[in-house]
């Protein structure tokens, strides 16, 4: 009994010791993460981590004594954790920033101005630099990459429908009869009896393969949903290019385009809202599963579509609209420094390097994303080519200003409130078949918030 007791006591002491030790080492680790010679950096895209690790290695060679510690978190966790970290004071020194979140962070004053980094808008693809200027005229982000939207399509299904790559690249649409775009989508649609969408007897309630996949209602931006159509109809989100104070979801042009677009699902040509799920069944899944023949999706998805086993995927530019031009959102990410960064000097050096041609060429050479500098973009195009992927449908809109118009995410205050109101409103139209005119009310609510 006595020895038993002693052994137990000894075990307890040992356990307590281990626990204490691990607490101490835990603290030590935390300390190392925020010391003067480390820069902490967060990103969400796991595909890009190797590229930025390569950049970090080069950076560390040039700046002996400085270490970059990269942390990758999935998109949802990323923003939750970042928000929490601002509150807890454990924020990273540098993080990958999204234009949709930028306004809110600027409002909350958690970002460090980057005016002294000497970033020149002219060094980057058009529009990318200017988007990161706050309303106070100061810069809060250093451009790192960009993406556009194009039409991914299943080559085999297109061939079976008798549609050539040239035809798919030459489509046009209008909100009245949908134009050649709607005809193509209808023809790509096949019901369970093998009848195509434009053939007599087509059963829209029992569709085997839809012509067009869906990414849901599209919230307030419709990036990979309706934005290519609303923009090529000449509509813009707000009254000013940046930091506008009035949204235009009450525009008759906007509403008629949205009505036509979601109408594609009612006709059975587009995957209905009921088949969509933001977690388990997005447009790329629908194409991968053979449930849809084509999908509008962003350049960040190129590798995913290319990786679908047993599927041959082609890409085509967005259809030309009533304005005569083809349109795509061109969105760019940036690197931002947090106002309370522990290692501000090191962070500025790192961001300056991330924004440099040297790092962007390195990132480009991995062929996973288009870097913001023209040289970086070139390196990426070459790397994609080496993998046998033609990315022309994504780069043409940026190079060819005569045929294309590119536009940015809406940049305004209260972006989170706009999302909170538009997310259910668009689902209500797409999923519940509510009237588009209901957007008048949503729009006035949004503008009321922006007015305060």
């Amino acid at each position: 009994m006595g020895t038993d007791m002693r052994i137990r006591m000894r075990t307890l002491t040992a356990l307590a010791g281990v626990l204490g030790l691990s607490l101490v080492s835990g603290c030590a680790q935390g300390g190392a993460g925020s010391s003067a010679d480390t820069v902490t950096y967060w990103l969400w895209d796991a595909n890009q981590q190797p590229a930025y690790e390569a950049c970090a290695q080069d950076f560390e060679k040039q700046n002996p004594g400085l270490t970059v510690k990269i942390t990758q978190l999935g998109w949802d966790d990323y923003w939750t954790k970042l928000t929490a970290s601002f509150i807890a004071g454990t924020e990273p020194d540098v993080f990958t920033d999204h234009i949709q979140k930028f306004g809110q962070f600027a409002d909350l004053k958690v970002l460090e101005p980057l005016d002294d980094l000497g970033i020149d808008d002219a060094d980057y693809q058009p529009g990318l630099g200017a988007n990161w200027m706050g309303q106070d005229g100061r810069r809060y982000g250093a451009p790192k990459d960009w993406d556009t939207v194009a039409l991914f399509y299943n080559r085999e299904l297109a061939k079976a429908a008798g549609l050539t790559a040239a035809q798919l690249n030459g489509l046009s649409w209008n909100p009245e009869d949908g134009g050649t775009f709607e005809k193509a989508i209808a023809h790509l649609t096949v019901d369970d009896k093998g009848r195509r969408g434009d053939e007599p007897g087509f059963d829209k309630n029992h569709v085997k393969v839809y012509g067009l996949a869906t990414n849901g209602g599209g919230d307030g931006d419709g990036q990979t949903q309706w934005s290519t159509f609303t923009a090529s109809a000449g509509w813009t989100y707000t009254d000013q290019k940046r930091w506008g104070t009035k949204y235009r979801y009450d525009s008759k042009t906007f509403q008629s385009v949205v009505e036509w677009y979601f109408g594609l699902a009612k006709k059975g040509y587009m995957v209905p809202f009921t088949d969509y799920n933001s977690q388990s069944n997005q447009a790329n899944t629908q194409v991968a599963a053979g449930k849809a023949a084509a999908a509008f999706d962003g350049a960040w998805m190129i590798s995913s579509y290319d990786g679908f086993k047993g599927l041959d995927i082609g890409t085509a530019v967005t259809p030309a609209g009533p304005s005569g031009k083809r349109a795509t959102m061109m969105n760019g990410l940036a690197d931002s420094i947090t106002r309370n960064a522990r290692n501000k000097a090191g962070a500025k050096k790192w961001v300056a390097y991330l924004a440099s041609d040297a790092c962007q060429r390195t990132v480009g050479s991995y062929g996973i994303v288009f870097p913001a500098t023209p040289d970086g973009t070139k390196a990426a195009v070459a790397a994609y080519e080496k993998k046998g992927i033609d990315v022309g449908a994504f780069t043409e809109p940026v190079a060819d200003e005569a045929d294309f118009t590119t536009f940015s995410y809406p940049i305004t205050n209260y972006a989170a409130d706009v999302y909170a109101l538009m997310h259910p409103a668009m689902q209500d139209i797409f999923g519940n078949g509510s009237s588009v005119s209901g957007l008048d009310r949503t729009n006035s609510q949004i503008n009321l918030i922006l007015d305060q």
Binding site: K109, S280, D428
Partner: protein
């Protein structure tokens, strides 16, 4: 330790029951010998729990109530706005629709869950002694809510889910369980029934164990059927346990969040935008911590009222046994 050092018996005055009685009555005065020792011991035992209660429950609740009268975005100091948040809440159609959606969820969730848990508990008690069976009933509860949500999300996916493949194979049209405004709330309610019914059944089963077996034997001798015994013996004697279980599960049910966050994110439109999810979005999506706190206070009031009414109606504090 303190007990051992308390007043030694040698201090007892010799003789007489009368004197002993006097002693015990004087000893009951606060601040003397034995009792002071008890107090210290009690403090040692209560201390940690009290500290936890104050730090993790009382203080956050008080602060939450304070914040509900402010405009607060977490990063800049809170600004007193009086009743503004409550006025906004009264005029916010999404708040009222969230409350309605939550109530519908609770009714379906608690209704189905309680009836099935009771059935399972009675079956477990009357039909089997198998620990294995009792264990199996509990297995869904071992899974985290998020995992359960994701698994069901995949099973019920309209295009790709196994569940819908079966529905289609049986010749029916596929059912958009989580993507249709009429199906979504019942589906989420039933997913949570699936996860919690075993646990609830186990609690009720424990309550059933407390009912003396001779009651059933006596009833049997009198020729009562199982059905009659259930209504005349089981239900009345289980009432206090059932009441407590109901109070706990109703409170838990009103706080549904994770299953919604994983499966529908409040959609389609606002069909599954339950109160907790709306509160979360206001706080962590829109940084409106003041308004989110006001809605949390409203939920606190609603839950307190419901609990109070339940407690009184079911006389949860009294038993009919013995």
């Amino acid at each position: 330790m303190t007990i051992a050092s308390s007043s030694p018996p040698s201090r007892l005055p010799p003789g007489g029951a009368e004197r002993t009685a006097t002693r015990s009555s004087t000893d009951r005065r606060p601040g003397t010998g034995e009792n002071r020792g008890d107090g210290r011991l009690a403090a040692v035992f209560i201390g940690p729990a009290l500290l936890g209660f104050v730090v993790f429950l009382l203080w956050p609740t008080l602060r939450g109530i304070y914040l509900s009268f402010t405009r607060f975005n977490l990063l800049t100091p809170a600004e007193w706005v009086g009743l503004d948040n409550y006025v906004r809440m009264a005029h916010d159609p999404i708040f009222w629709s969230s409350l309605r959606v939550t109530v519908v969820y609770v009714i379906i969730n608690i209704g189905v869950q309680t009836v099935s848990a009771l059935a399972i508990a009675v079956l477990l008690q009357r039909l089997t002694q198998s620990a294995l069976l009792r264990g199996i009933v509990l297995t869904p509860y071992l899974m985290s809510n998020v995992v359960a949500g994701i698994v069901w999300l995949w099973i019920l996916d309209t295009q790709l889910g196994v569940g819908n493949e079966i529905v289609a194979a049986l010749g029916f049209d596929r059912i958009p369980f989580l993507a249709d405004e009429t199906w979504a709330i019942p589906t989420i309610a039933l997913i949570n029934v699936w996860r919690h019914v075993g646990y609830t059944a186990l609690l009720l089963f424990a309550g059933l164990q407390a009912i003396p077996n001779d009651m059933y034997e006596a009833a049997k001798v009198d020729g009562a059927s199982e059905w009659r015994m259930f209504w005349r013996i089981t239900m009345p004697l289980l009432r206090p346990v059932l009441a407590v279980v109901l109070i706990m599960t109703v409170i838990g049910s009103f706080q549904v969040f994770d299953t919604v966050a994983v499966t529908t994110r409040g959609g389609p439109a606002d069909a599954t935008n339950v109160l907790q999810y709306y509160i979360y979005g206001a706080a962590f999506g829109r940084f409106q911590f003041g308004y989110a706190s006001a809605m949390s206070v409203a939920l606190l009031v609603v839950l307190s009222a419901i609990t109070f009414v339940q407690y009184r109606l079911t006389r949860a504090g009294q038993t009919d046994l013995g």
